[in-house]
């Protein structure tokens, strides 16, 4: 279980997180929604130690995320970045097997390649893309490779940062379905951040809405439409009228 308690984070005078309290139960898929610039990515980055909270605590299974062995901690996570964040200088299979080629999870090269190709198959890519470079792939294929890299080392917790941004509706649907299937199949705890309400409905067990630096509403995805929360209702409907200012 991932727990956020009163997490604050500022960048200069800009207070992005102003006391985030949230629990993500083990094995559940939590989707965090909210407008651009509300701190969704910052929330994920604080868990991974890419950013350090100014105040508050984040625990994973009761252990403080900022303490202990970083390598062992990070080995439990997989992350799909918004733009894929694939390494340009490495081939597709080397990207997917990155973690399996070095560090504590290192395997023999042939075995790492085999696992990478199996993961590529799992996300719907054929083995012939394995030796291509990321720049030779389309946006949708890069996203799939990013997904294969995120799951390559069988992590317990997977983060998805805007998984469908920049993709056409059909490819978005494919990625959403893949994420859902993989999370269920692996029994992983998932945290996804998105503005895409189709993704939310396809991926989420629970939804949390981040607004003004705090969790405005959280609950099961099937209660989202009947929540009565004016912020959530406005966000779901995409209306310019409501408590959320249209111009931020």
């Amino acid at each position: 279980m991932i727990t956020f308690e009163n997490v604050h984070k500022s960048f200069g005078p800009k207070h992005v997180l102003r006391g985030v309290d949230l629990e993500v139960p083990k094995g559940e898929s939590m989707v965090i929604i909210g407008g651009s610039g509300t701190g969704k990515s910052v929330t994920l980055k604080c868990v991974l130690g890419l950013l350090t909270p100014d105040q508050g605590t984040i625990t994973v299974d009761g252990n403080d995320a900022t303490k202990g062995d970083r390598d062992a901690f990070l080995a439990r996570f997989g992350m799909l970045f918004q733009g894929g964040a694939l390494f340009d200088s490495l081939t597709v299979w080397q990207n997917v097997a990155f973690r399996l080629l070095r560090g504590s999870l290192k395997r023999p090269k042939a075995e790492a390649r085999e696992i990478a190709i199996e993961k590529l198959r799992r996300v719907g890519l054929t083995p012939d893309v394995a030796d291509l470079f990321p720049s030779e792939l389309s946006g949708g294929m890069q996203k799939r490779v990013g997904l294969a890299r995120a799951i390559a080392a069988e992590p317990e917790i997977i983060f998805f940062d805007e998984p469908t941004t920049g993709l056409d509706p059909i490819m978005s649907g494919v990625i959403n379905d893949l994420i859902r299937e993989i999370v269920v199949e692996m029994g992983a705890t998932a945290m996804t951040i998105t503005h895409d309400m189709t993704s939310v409905r396809a991926i989420a067990d629970k939804v949390a809405m981040l607004h003004d630096g705090v969790i405005q509403w959280t609950g099961p995805v099937n209660e989202m439409d009947t929540s009565g929360d004016p912020y959530l209702t406005q966000f779901i409907s995409g209306s310019a009228e409501g408590p959320i200012e249209a111009v931020r």
Partner: protein, 261 residues
């Protein structure tokens, strides 16, 4: 009152920012150096850096050195003729190339070619979240990106300087023997007799220091780049400027250290 104090305040801010930058760069360089000696080591990245910094810089280093050596021979011959000292061309070309022009020009060429490329590559990696991805994949960016490039530059730039020195002297030899009428055997003999071991050692040490400066500046500005294409451009520009100025300043300090007694 504000009109009087505003320029002072601006000067104070700039001074503080300058010393802050020096502190940050120093800490970054020390951290990068320490990662060279602490595992894990990334052999593939080191070999790639060695190839990129060393092998791929050879053409530009060779061309720069040969033209500089040739021009130096012409200048010394012409200048020397004013006080009947034309005969010192081989000696002065050798000492000029080995002690000063070889290391400085190779350093500046490496700054132009390698520092800019390292800064642009790492800055792009930062902008596209590849650095964050490295961290989440349990790989320390300083170890994976900075340490291999720094180690490669410390090792291979002195080699480039040595090659540049030889090619520069050869440029002077060609001009001296073909255009200025020097006897080839005498030219070579004068060059070899005149050069001392300390000249060569100082040249190689300068090369290593300049290589370290080039790689460190590229990595520092890349890692600290701003957002977007503008951030990458600004990081690249700043890295080359800083590397070039630091190379020239370090050259003065090293020359003072080696040859002032």
């Amino acid at each position: 009152m504000m009109i009087l104090t505003a320029p002072l305040a601006a000067l104070g801010r700039a001074t503080l920012a300058f010393f802050g930058l020096i502190g940050q760069v120093t800490l970054f360089a020390l951290s990068a150096l320490s990662h060279i000696f602490r595992p894990p080591f990334y052999g593939r990245e080191f070999l790639m850096a060695l190839f990129n910094i060393g092998w791929l810089s050879l053409p530009v280093v060779g061309l720069t050195a040969i033209f500089t050596g040739g021009a130096l021979a012409l200048q010394i011959y012409d200048g020397g003729s004013r006080f009947s000292a034309e005969a010192v061309v081989p000696q002065i070309v050798a000492i000029g190339m080995v002690r000063e022009l070889g290391p400085v020009l190779v350093g500046l060429m490496v700054a132009a070619r390698v520092t800019s490329s390292i800064a642009a590559e790492i800055a792009t990696m930062k902008v596209t979240e590849q650095i964050d991805a490295l961290t989440t994949l349990s790989t320390h960016p300083m170890k994976y990106l900075t340490a291999p490039r720094l180690l490669a530059a410390l090792i291979v730039v002195p080699v480039l300087v040595g090659i540049g020195d030889i090619i520069g002297i050869y440029g002077g030899f060609v001009v001296g023997t073909k255009q200025l009428g020097f006897n080839p055997a005498t030219y070579v003999q004068n060059t070899v007799d005149f050069l001392q071991r300390s000249d060569i050692v100082s040249s190689l040490i300068k090369g290593s220091v300049f290589g370290g400066i080039s790689a460190t500046m590229g990595c520092y500005y890349g890692m600290n780049s701003g957002r977007g294409a503008q951030g990458v451009g600004a990081a690249t520009k700043a890295s080359v400027q800083a590397a070039a100025v630091l190379i020239l300043a370090a050259n003065f300090l090293l020359t003072s250290l080696f040859f002032t007694s």
